[in-house]
Symmetry: D2
Subunit: 91 residues, 4 copies
């Protein structure tokens, strides 16, 4: 396992944590907590999600794209992967 790639259990654990954070955001807003604190928490959840995304991108490039390349089908897979990066960047 290399780079940003995560184990299956890491994804599960991280996403469970993010889900809890989102539930926490709802509670903060219902309790009328200070907006700036909620915004700080939103920035933190966004980062956590993006890191899961980087992990998936890393695994995807390392496995699907490379395997496709070895079978002479790498170009289509790369088109798709770079388009996914573009969506993450929201360019």
């Amino acid at each position: 396992m290399r780079g940003y790639t995560l184990e299956q259990a890491d994804y599960t654990r991280r996403l469970a944590r993010i889900e809890g954070q989102v539930r926490g955001l709802a509670r903060m807003i219902e309790a009328d907590e200070y907006c700036i604190d909620v915004l700080t928490q939103i920035a933190s959840v966004t980062k956590a999600l993006q890191r899961v995304g980087l992990g998936l991108l890393d695994a995807h490039l390392r496995h699907c794209v490379m395997d496709a390349h070895d079978e002479g089908q790498g170009d289509e897979k790369l088109d798709e992967a770079v388009a996914a990066v573009e969506r993450l960047l929201r360019v």
Copy 2:
């Protein structure tokens, strides 16, 4: 209610939806769904979160910051609000 500001019920509804999407992400990964589809979903959840953040920022500027300004305390509140925007931008 103006601009990006949301009603309390909108925040609750949106965050419940985001929580469901995060749970869906975990299911997609467990079911070994195609990485690119998971990444597309991550981009979509991130956007939904940022929109909640914009709603909170809008309400915060329109109420807390303006009220503080009217009492001669606007500068501190603005420092804080722009710092929150910086965190959202991850500059």
Copy 3:
């Protein structure tokens, strides 16, 4: 002068620096420099631009928006300012 607000001379100096960095990017690509180094430089120029943007947002909120608020016209100015933040976030 408070928060993220910059002096006129700071904007001029920072933008001159960014302009030089963009020219440097073109040179790097013409000289066929290593892509990863060019990407690192692009991330750095992007950050520098976003900081200029934060400076302008800070000044705009602190002056135009507050002045408009004092004259009972704050809401329109805030709509506009939050829409500008949205464009910076590329939500």
Copy 4:
């Protein structure tokens, strides 16, 4: 030439245009133009820069990383490429 990859002449032309836009930003600020208009222009320059970045990433994955993979050195190159994406995302 596929996907987001650009020709050398495209990079040169795009970066020359971005350089002109940055010079335009300095002029707008010196002429005291409306902050919101300057912010809109900053969002546009940022997008243009990110697109150049996507083009370079695309070319890098398609050439350097694939060539390295064919020689059994793909993993190091992928570590580096995903770290570059992370910097672009500013996670």
